[in-house]
Structures are given as C-alpha cells and as structure tokens.
C-alpha cells in the first residue's frame, strides 16, 4: 500500500510516499509507521483514506490511496 506524505511530514521522512504491507485498519497503519519510520512517531497528523478523513478503527480493505495529513494551514 502506498502512503502519501505532505509538507512537514515529507520533510522529516525525506520522501513524499512510503510503501507498506497493507494493514487491516488505520490504527494498525499508524502502529506500523511508528515502528518502521521513527521520525513519524512524534508527529501530529490525521489519516485520509481515498481523500476522506478516517477514524482509527476504519478498515483499509479496498482502500486505493492513503495519505498522512499534518495540521493544515491554508488560507
């Protein structure tokens, strides 16, 4: 599964996308990211699944695009 990174998160990881073995839920994804990419562990972000903000217990089954959304600052 491809995980998109933006802004401050892309900078701390040094990449705009990560490849991970597809986890079952959003919460599982965060656990996996924290162990595989320690730079993400202290970061604040929401997870978007197929361009919609997702809850921790949301299933990733069938998800096509997952993104980590650091605190936004548009406007």
């Amino acid at each position: 599964m491809r995980v998109l990174l933006f802004a401050s998160l892309a900078e701390v990881v040094g990449s705009r996308a990560l490849e991970v073995d597809a986890p079952a839920t959003v919460g599982d994804l965060i656990t996996l990211l924290n162990s595989g990419w320690p730079a993400l562990a202290g970061q604040s972000y929401r997870v978007a699944v197929d361009q919609t903000y997702a809850a921790l217990d949301q299933s990733l089954s069938g998800a096509e695009e997952v993104a980590l959304i650091p605190p936004v600052s548009g406007g």
Partner: protein
C-alpha cells in the same frame, strides 16, 4: 467555481461565478500574504496541497455553505506555489438573497477551510523556512 491554481487568482472571475438574478448580496473575501507573522518579518510563502483531496474538501465546504449556512452560490479558489507579499492566496465569493447570510457563510467557509482543507503554508524568514503549523 472550485479550483486550486498555481498562477495569480482572478478575483473578478471568482466573484462573477456567484452571480444570480435572485442574489441581492455577494461577499468577496480575499486572503493575502502578510509581511510578518508573530512579529517576525516574512519574505515570501510556499504553499503545497494534496490536490485531489483539497478540491473534494473545498467542494464539500461549498455544499455545506449552501445546505446549512444560507448561501445561494459559492466560489472558492486557492493558489499554491511561491507567493510574494500582497499576493492573493485564497478568494471566496458567496452570494445570497440578503447580506446577512452571505457575510455569515463567507466567514464560516474561510474558518472551516483553515481547519479541513489539506493545504500547507511554509513561511520564509531571513533565516529559513518554517511550516505554519509548526509554530509553538
């Protein structure tokens, strides 16, 4: 009109997109690049976005403004890339039958855009850049 652009925003076009014969009021909000943040001089800004989701969220804001906040028509355009002091970063036009709803919906849209739409701003100072959300 819902768009994310990498060139100067035409505020005339944003406003024209909400014209209608029953709309007696139109409010245009323009967010511009300021030359300082929290007392520190800013030289320019870089905006980046998650384009597909930003467009989805902006369209949702427009829909909610019509459904729940009394707007008749809504137009939102955000600019990304490098912006200089004074450049328009976002333009929001709202029309409604009367002014109270247009003012209220305009305010709700910019406040909510700043909470939900995946766009990020890096502020450049003389000693380097800082993401706006990383301010203490």
């Amino acid at each position: 009109m819902i768009d994310v652009v990498d060139v100067a925003i035409s505020v005339d076009d944003v406003l024209a997109a909400v014209e209608g014969p029953g709309e007696g009021a139109a409010v245009l909000f323009v967010g511009r690049v300021r030359d300082a943040t929290a007392g520190s001089a800013v030289t320019h800004l870089d905006y980046e976005c998650y384009r597909e989701m930003a467009l989805t969220e902006m369209a949702a804001l427009a829909g909610e403004a019509v459904a729940n906040h009394g707007a008749a028509a809504v137009s939102i355009v955000h600019r990304v890339g490098r912006l200089e002091i004074g450049d328009a970063a976002v333009a929001i036009a709202v029309s409604s039958a009367h002014r109270a709803e247009a003012y209220a919906a305009s305010r709700w849209i910019i406040d909510t855009l700043k909470e939900r739409v995946p766009i990020w701003k890096k502020e450049w100072h003389a000693d380097g850049g800082v993401w706006a959300s990383d301010h203490p």
